[in-house]
């Protein structure tokens, strides 16, 4: 490579790293406990469980769960129900002042699916983990904070790619993984920076770039919503269950019946999320029911069906577009939560190695010139 080209890549590597390093360090540090949030909750005893009741206690209608939630939090309206695979008797219910807010001030509560009672959990959205989460996700600055961190993530990707280009010239006279520990500290750290950078390369690119995609989640869902509404208006929808289907309960305007009709139209699927009309995930007139399958892949790649609570028609407005697929695959690849505890431990170790790469990079910049002078 020509010396001028090399200097150019060096410039790109230096500035993309310098601008983003402190934020990426923050992301690595706050991300570390977040990898284990499930385990930490378990150890801290703040794990959420449904109050004990006889096995097989039937669940009440969703409409009653919603009514109880609103009764407990007057002035708010329900936006979403979320189901957790391992908490079958609980619903997470998201409430806000309107259905079309940006949800930054929304309230997430837990409701007992059998009684509608709001389960008292000692402030599961406060405390250390919540601070870690907000610092990691949006710096307490909503969408602007997310997009800012996303931009820092893009700079990280640039830094990684330019770092790979610079790897070869630095390694010309070295064996792979050679660390010259008897030389000056800067040389030792340069070798470590190169080694750790190259072994974490693919993981850091994957986690970095999927993190960037996750920051676009709101925009991605907005785009999909627009696409679904457009498909509805153009009449380009696929009807999965007609209004007058005979072997399912007739629509009566209730949420429960609407959801039952969706489940009847999609056998073998389980509810992941229910979105009220007017929210980001639904359309102004339809309830959206997000369904998941039971294989590792289909439990991530969900299917969104729309149902009109007034007439009970179940539709698929538009098949999941590629950018939603990308987002849904980005979540596990960023969180590292798809391969049990061993994968989480590897995630943590690679995260720590990345911290060393960032720290050594900063050190190399601060001590720049030292090696050239002293040889």
């Amino acid at each position: 490579m020509q010396a001028r080209t090399l200097r150019g890549w060096g410039w790109v590597h230096k500035w993309s790293s310098l601008v983003s390093t402190l934020f990426i360090l923050l992301l690595c540090l706050t991300g570390l406990p977040l990898i284990f949030s499930h385990e930490i909750e378990h150890l801290a005893g703040s794990e959420i469980e449904a109050p004990p009741m006889p096995a097989g206690t039937p669940q009440i209608a969703l409409d009653r769960v919603a009514a109880e939630a609103v009764k407990a939090h007057p002035g708010l309206v329900p936006l979403y129900f979320f189901a957790e695979e391992d908490l079958p008797d609980l619903w997470y219910v998201k409430l806000d002042t309107r259905v079309d807010t940006d949800e930054s001030e929304s309230l997430l509560i837990l409701s007992d699916a059998r009684t509608g009672q709001v389960v008292d959990v000692s402030a599961f959205d406060e405390g250390f983990m919540s601070v870690m989460y907000r610092l990691h996700v949006d710096l307490y600055a909503g969408l602007a904070g997310k997009l800012f961190l996303g931009f820092m993530g893009l700079l990280l990707v640039v830094a990684i790619v330019s770092g790979v280009v610079l790897y070869a010239p630095f390694m010309r006279k070295l064996r792979f993984a050679e660390v010259r520990r008897e030389r000056a500290p800067r040389t030792r750290w340069l070798d470590l920076h190169n080694l750790l950078g190259i072994v974490t390369l693919v993981w850091a690119l994957a986690v970095g770039f999927t993190g960037v995609i996750n920051t676009w989640a709101d925009l991605i869902f907005q785009a999909w919503q627009a696409e679904q509404v457009a498909a509805l208006q153009a009449g380009k929808t696929q009807v999965l269950l007609p209004k007058d289907a005979s072997d399912v309960p007739a629509a009566d305007g209730s949420l429960q019946t609407a959801v039952d009709r969706v489940l009847a139209a999609a056998p073998g699927m389980a509810i992941s999320m229910i979105a009220y009309p007017g929210t980001l995930r639904a359309t102004p007139e339809h309830v959206a029911v997000i369904l998941r399958g039971d294989t590792p892949l289909t439990s991530r790649l969900t299917q969104a069906l729309l149902v009109d609570p007034a007439d009970g028609e179940v539709l698929e407005a538009s098949a999941r577009p590629w950018y939603v697929t990308a987002l849904q695959l980005s979540e596990p690849l960023h969180f590292g939560d798809y391969g049990g505890l061993p994968l989480k431990i590897l995630w943590a170790l690679l995260d720590i190695l990345t911290i060393v790469v960032l720290g050594s990079g900063l050190y190399l910049w601060l001590k720049r010139g030292a090696t050239e002078v002293r040889g």
């Binding site: 030792r188 072994v199 693919v202 391969g339 994968l343």
Partner: protein
């Protein structure tokens, strides 16, 4: 060229396969994922161990200090 890129390429490919394996299959996929991501991690950790600061560096201290004073 090949000498420089052989190991990085092998470890990178292994990492990529490891990242995807756990997504597409439980059980065998998870095991492969742990091994495939574990290897580059191990190489990195081992490098950190080999590259730890020398416990004593009398030669360097002697060589550098007079120069700095002067």
């Amino acid at each position: 060229m090949m000498r420089i890129w052989l190991w990085p390429l092998a470890l990178g490919l292994l990492s990529a396969l490891g990242l995807l394996a756990g997504l597409v299959s439980d059980g065998a996929g998870d095991w492969f994922g742990w091994l495939a991501l574990g290897l580059p991690t191990l190489v990195g950790l081992q490098g950190m161990w080999r590259g730890r600061a020398p416990t004593q560096a009398p030669r360097r201290a002697a060589a550098v200090r007079p120069a700095e004073r002067g």
